[in-house]
Symmetry: C2
């Protein structure tokens, strides 16, 4: 099974240029110079022996071949993106697997975080554990525990606990890889945790 495939680079250049009908705009979108787009498109056209664009004095037009090619290439890109997203979600679309140590679980409501509607877009599953290693090897994305560290290169975020009368409940710690410290999921979970450390006991 051997495929006849133009290089992806030339296709990206073509797809962007065809969508914008402008090499310059395409270049901006792809973060390169217009010359690079021009080269890539020309390379594609030569390798296929087919002109994709009509270079008119006042702008670009697609040839019939380019017109036919564009939607199919866009579709291929979408499929490829979807396939890739399916097995390797980008940070922003992925749901967290949350680890919770047993002591933290006592403080939090039973079945947290699964019972929280506000977290249902951010949490896939939760597991009772106290094992930092599981963060490193991606079995869980974050770990909620009582102990404050040190955690080396992992990020540890402290959830402030407000005193209730003379009693200050124990602070919780949210441990995750540095790359996940600022993302939507982390913020949502932290926000939810704060509500509990202010209310519980």
């Amino acid at each position: 099974m051997t495929y006849r495939l133009p290089t992806l680079n030339t296709l990206r250049a073509f797809e962007a240029a065809a969508r914008h009908l402008s090499f310059k705009t395409a270049a901006t979108e792809l973060g390169v110079t217009a010359g690079a787009i021009s080269q890539q498109v020309k390379k594609l056209e030569i390798s296929l022996g087919v002109a994709m664009f009509r270079r008119l004095p006042h702008g670009l037009l697609l040839t019939p071949e380019g017109e036919a090619y564009l939607p199919r290439i866009s579709q291929v890109f979408e499929d490829l993106t979807a396939a890739t997203e399916a097995i390797a979600p980008t940070i922003n679309s992925k749901k967290f697997n949350v680890g919770i140590c047993s002591k933290a679980a006592e403080i939090l409501p039973p079945n947290w975080p699964k019972n929280r509607d506000s977290l249902k877009d951010y949490v896939r599953d939760s597991v009772c554990t106290n094992d930092i290693e599981m963060v490193w090897n991606n079995e869980i994305d974050c770990l909620v525990r009582l102990a404050g560290g040190p955690y080396g290169k992992l990020t540890s975020l402290t959830i402030p606990a407000s005193s209730i009368g003379k009693f200050t409940p124990p602070a919780l710690h949210f441990i995750c890889k540095p790359g996940l410290a600022d993302c939507r999921q982390t913020k949502a979970i932290l926000h939810d945790l704060e509500a509990h450390t202010s209310l519980s006991i």
Copy 2:
């Protein structure tokens, strides 16, 4: 519209390796060394943060992610190949546009070559012309005419004409780009033309 796309190279390496469950065989298929496949696959795995293969002592296995990714990538490759083939047929699958000069048309049967069943897989259309330029700019793939040349860098093939009694019918010439001189379509058309130059008049 900005897509998140791994490089095509890494995907090709992955796809071939996953199909064969062997870097070495994949390397042979793609005409590179096994080291190159290894590097490309690793690059893909790192960029996605997902292992595609389990490297076992006795061979390769796909991880669940790799298992899920493979069919979708293969499908993308097929779509891409089909899209490309549609607008830029490979020499072997393309049908010729045939040019025929008016003098040659007098010798050949009316409506040749469209009326020939044996050519219907090789000829898309025909047009009456005597303009060599149309071969150069791909408006037609070949030109059938009486004049023998010279044609410079174009290939000119002579269709032998057999005498009938004292009369020798004029020889026909088949002019095409050098790259098309040896392909199936040319052979089929030449073969058909020979029949006519031996029978006509």
